[in-house]
């Protein structure tokens, strides 16, 4: 086994293996007759290590052996491979969030009573992780249920200065009839979202059923309104 081929085999094995490989493990790849011996393997690894010097991956030795790994300086780009596409929240989550917003402080049993169904722990956890709700206290009842309220982050995300800027409950019940007012609210939201703002201004200038539908569609498109709130939401 010449040095070139030894290097080629060891590089391929280290890259194919799901875990680090030790010198004995690398040696086991070769039959007795072609056995290069640990020194030769170690020298091949040294050469391979040098080869990676300018590259995006490095050949490193860890406790259980040798492996190729992504270099720290390119990691920020590589990490984007694992960014998950935002999905959509369930209706149950939105209802729960809305009830917490309008009826805070409120306990889970109370939400369940109004919604008529059990609220899953996942929903509460998701809302807490997003820092839209938090526990603000406990009701003095058996089990001491937690009282939930919304946070500043919640207000910031929806571009509200205070909860008072949410439409009154009475209006919400008749959302359909309140469409003009509602559109306005949606438009003001979109205005902050940047590119869509222009469209909504046009809508206002020349309101027509067609543009209204279009505006609605763009409001619903999750990617359009963007996964991340525009900068100013967070400022």
């Amino acid at each position: 086994m010449d040095t070139t081929n030894l290097k080629r085999i060891i590089e391929a094995a280290l890259l194919a293996s799901p875990h680090p490989l030790s010198l004995p493990q690398l040696g086991a790849l070769f039959s007795d007759t072609e056995q290069p011996g640990p020194d030769a393997i170690a020298r091949a690894i040294e050469a391979l290590t040098l080869d990676t010097e300018d590259r995006g991956v490095a050949l490193v030795e860890v406790a259980s052996g040798f492996r190729y790994q992504v270099r720290a300086d390119v990691h920020p780009w590589v990490a984007r491979l694992w960014s998950e596409r935002p999905g959509k929240y369930s209706r149950a989550l939105l209802e729960t969030l809305a009830l917490i917003a309008y009826r805070q402080p409120i306990t889970r049993p109370e939400i369940e009573q109004i919604r008529g169904v059990v609220v899953s722990g996942n929903i509460i956890r998701t809302l807490e992780e997003r820092e839209w709700i938090r526990v603000v206290g406990h009701r003095d009842l058996p089990g001491r249920p937690a009282l939930f309220g919304t946070t500043r982050t919640f207000l910031d995300y929806f571009n509200l200065r205070s909860l008072d800027e949410l439409p009154p409950l009475a209006d919400i019940r008749d959302l359909d009839e309140m469409l003009p007012q509602f559109d306005f609210a949606a438009a003001s939201l979109r205005a902050d979202a940047g590119p869509i703002a222009a469209a909504s201004i046009e809508d206002d200038a020349a309101p027509s059923p067609a543009t209204a539908v279009e505006a609605e569609a763009s409001a619903d498109a999750p990617e359009g309104t963007a996964s991340a709130p525009p900068e100013e939401f967070r400022a």
Partner: protein
């Protein structure tokens, strides 16, 4: 080998498609071992055990036919139907002994072969000597078509493929953090969700949701938050004079509402003494 033929029934090789079709109980599928030697054609000695293995190896009547044709180095376009039919019948005769479910497809082919054979034996009018009239044509076409895909299957099998010929090369990523982008929510969606839940609540009738000054509700949460340590807090520390008169009123209403909902305890040891507030249950509990 096979020096110990069992006492099982004598071979019952059907003589052709029109031969007696054995009843199901005569052909136990599992019966392989101990079956007496079938009456084989001289050139086709097959021990019964092996026969099953071989039949498994055929992918159906077309495969068997192709095998028979190849075995005799015959031009596929010029099949000696009589000879092939004879051999084929011998095979399916043996199959009959072994596997009923195989036989069905093979029997259809036997019928086709027998039909072709009989048509070839009939005198043909001289005018109709075209290829289209060759009764073998359709069979040849099917054999050719099937052979193409046999070849294609072998070609695909020969392609360099993962696992067998190559493996994905991967480097370790340390600190793999999933950058999770949370789903976006539109205020409109939120309000529509609320409308739905309110409508449902109204339908069930019992849960009238009152209209509240939301700023009071918000302040209730804030007050509770500041009381969450479970300790007593002086009443006036809950007000921010910087908020102005309206802010103070909102805070005051919030405290009253909290007291009404039994969420806070208000303590005053004597008239005009300092007032203290405490959450009835601290968040930390």
């Amino acid at each position: 080998m096979h020096s110990e033929p069992s006492e099982a029934a004598p071979a019952n090789v059907p003589q052709g498609v029109f031969g007696p079709i054995p009843q199901q109980q005569e052909m136990p599928l599992a019966l392989v071992r101990g079956l007496p030697l079938l009456q084989m054609p001289q050139d086709l000695y097959i021990p019964p055990d092996a026969l099953e293995v071989i039949l498994e190896a055929f992918e159906g009547p077309l495969d068997l036919l192709l095998y028979l044709i190849r075995r005799q180095n015959l031009d596929i376009l010029d099949i000696p139907i009589a000879e092939i039919t004879r051999q084929y019948m011998d095979y399916i005769g043996m199959m009959h002994e072994m596997r009923l479910e195989l036989a069905a497809e093979y029997l259809v082919m036997a019928a086709i072969l027998a039909e072709i054979k009989s048509r070839l034996l009939l005198p043909r009018p001289p005018a109709a000597e075209g290829i289209e009239d060759d009764p073998r044509a359709e069979l040849v076409r099917r054999l050719q078509e099937y052979e193409r895909f046999q070849k294609a299957a072998a070609d695909i099998d020969a392609l360099p493929r993962m696992e067998r010929d190559t493996a994905l090369a991967q480097a370790q990523v340390t600190d793999r953090v999933v950058v999770r982008l949370p789903p976006p929510v539109d205020l409109r969606e939120l309000l529509l969700a609320l409308r739905d839940v309110l409508r449902r609540a109204e339908l069930s009738g019992h849960h009238a949701v009152r209209r509240d000054a939301l700023s009071v509700r918000q302040r209730m949460g804030e007050v509770l938050k500041s009381l969450q340590d479970g300790a007593f807090h002086a009443f006036q520390t809950l007000f921010d004079p910087g908020e102005g008169r309206l802010g103070v009123v909102v805070s005051f209403l919030a405290i009253l509402e909290l007291a009404k909902e039994m969420l806070v305890e208000i303590v005053q040891e004597a008239p005009l003494a300092p007032i203290y507030l405490k959450a009835r249950i601290a968040a930390s509990e």
